[in-house]
């Protein structure tokens, strides 16, 4: 009987020692499968976010700006009409936070942009990027009212055809910088975060931008 108790005590001691060992603790505290999956998904998401953290693209540029037309206040314009001028063609969605920041930032520099002679064409994405929001003129009047009266600014709505040509992936905001020869030299998603590129392009120092 005593021997049996002694054996039991030894077994208990061994079990307690084993529990205190690291490999056992690790096994005990191993993350549940769903938590690991979430963690993995988060890591992949962050990695993708880092890899694609902006629409910015310089590879494969410059190219000839694709032909497209749009209508502002009943008048039809073609991209080719802006030859011999530096052009910023900007598609935005009126719910997009980066677009709000961008109109404010560009309004603060409107005198310089006007002095450089940069033509800015702002078009609301066809379908507003898939989510409802204010009309383009209401949006501009709300965040940067003076832009609607600035001569080098044109504000309107993109057609489906133009959206498919310039923004087939339906980014909430994307802009294109096209030089006097109609060559498209720069693409980015957030003007507020790439103001130096826009200012350099407008001033004629696109190479440095």
């Amino acid at each position: 009987m005593r021997t049996r108790q002694k054996v039991k005590a030894i077994i208990l001691k061994t079990e307690n020692r084993a529990l205190a060992k690291k490999p056992m603790l690790r096994k005990h505290n191993k993350l549940p499968r769903h938590t690991r999956s979430w963690g993995l998904a988060l890591l992949i998401g962050v990695a993708c976010g880092m890899a694609l953290s902006s629409v910015s693209a310089q590879g494969g540029l410059p190219i000839k700006a694709p032909a497209a037309s749009f209508t502002i206040e009943g008048k039809e314009y073609r991209i080719a009409d802006f030859k011999e001028r530096r052009l910023m063609l900007w598609f935005l969605s009126t719910w997009c936070s980066s677009c709000i920041q961008a109109v404010k930032a560009l309004e603060a520099r409107k005198s310089k942009l006007e002095a450089y002679g940069l033509q800015v064409v702002v078009l609301k994405n066809h379908g507003n990027g898939g989510y409802p929001g204010p009309e383009i003129h209401d949006f501009i009047n709300q965040y940067a009212a003076s832009l609607s009266k600035t001569p080098n600014w044109m504000i309107g709505n993109a057609t489906a055809e133009m959206g498919n040509t310039y923004n087939p992936r339906r980014y909430p905001g994307i802009y294109f910088l096209t030089d006097e020869t109609g060559m498209l030299g720069s693409v980015d998603g957030a003007p507020a975060a790439s103001l130096d590129v826009i200012m350099n392009f407008a001033s004629g120092n696109a190479a440095q931008g």
Binding site: L19, N29, L52, S53, P168, R169
Partner: protein, 175 residues
């Protein structure tokens, strides 16, 4: 509430845990300060996002970083005690707080949706594109949900800490 205060007292009695909490707070605060304004930068994360920081985003960053640093310290304490920890709500809170601003107005969702639409067109309807707009216009609600999830994680782990003395494996007395 009492459980939470008691757990804080139990854990932060040790200087090592105080140091761990301070270090993780600094780390997570930087992470949030550089991530939350990314909705204004087209998804760019890092020092480039700092100039776009608003007072509201700074407050959210401090609140979420403080909660995560406390939860991290609690988790380390519980693991060292050989106890199970609550992680699901913490992961939910971190995802809700960080991924929301990154997804809004960045190319991540459009690229992903375009890819899926290219492979399985039937899966992606027009409403799928509304997701980004929803995230962009419900930022405050997303941050609130993320913070609530972190509060739940904090409370769950505090409860475990308070239960620790009863659940810990004690050495068996020799007969």
């Amino acid at each position: 509430m009492e459980i939470c205060l008691q757990a804080l007292k139990t854990v932060f009695r040790s200087r090592r845990y105080q140091a761990l909490a301070a270090a993780s707070f600094a780390l997570f605060l930087m992470l949030y300060l550089m991530t939350l304004p990314s909705a204004f930068t087209g998804g760019r994360v890092g020092f480039i996002a700092l100039p776009f920081l608003t007072m509201e985003l700074a407050v959210w960053s401090v609140v979420m970083a403080a909660l995560i640093s406390i939860i991290t310290t609690f988790v380390v304490f519980l693991v060292r005690q050989g106890m199970a920890v609550s992680k699901a709500s913490t992961v939910g809170g971190v995802i809700g707080g960080v991924v929301g601003p990154v997804l809004c107005c960045s190319p991540v969702l459009p690229v992903t949706l375009s890819f899926i639409a290219g492979v399985y067109p039937a899966l992606i309807g027009p409403s799928a594109w509304a997701l980004q707009g929803f995230i962009a216009t419900h930022q405050t609600e997303l941050f609130t949900t993320a913070t609530l999830l972190l509060v739940v994680a904090f409370w769950q782990n505090a409860r475990r800490i308070e239960a620790a003395p009863n659940c810990a494996v004690l050495p068996q007395a020799d007969n």
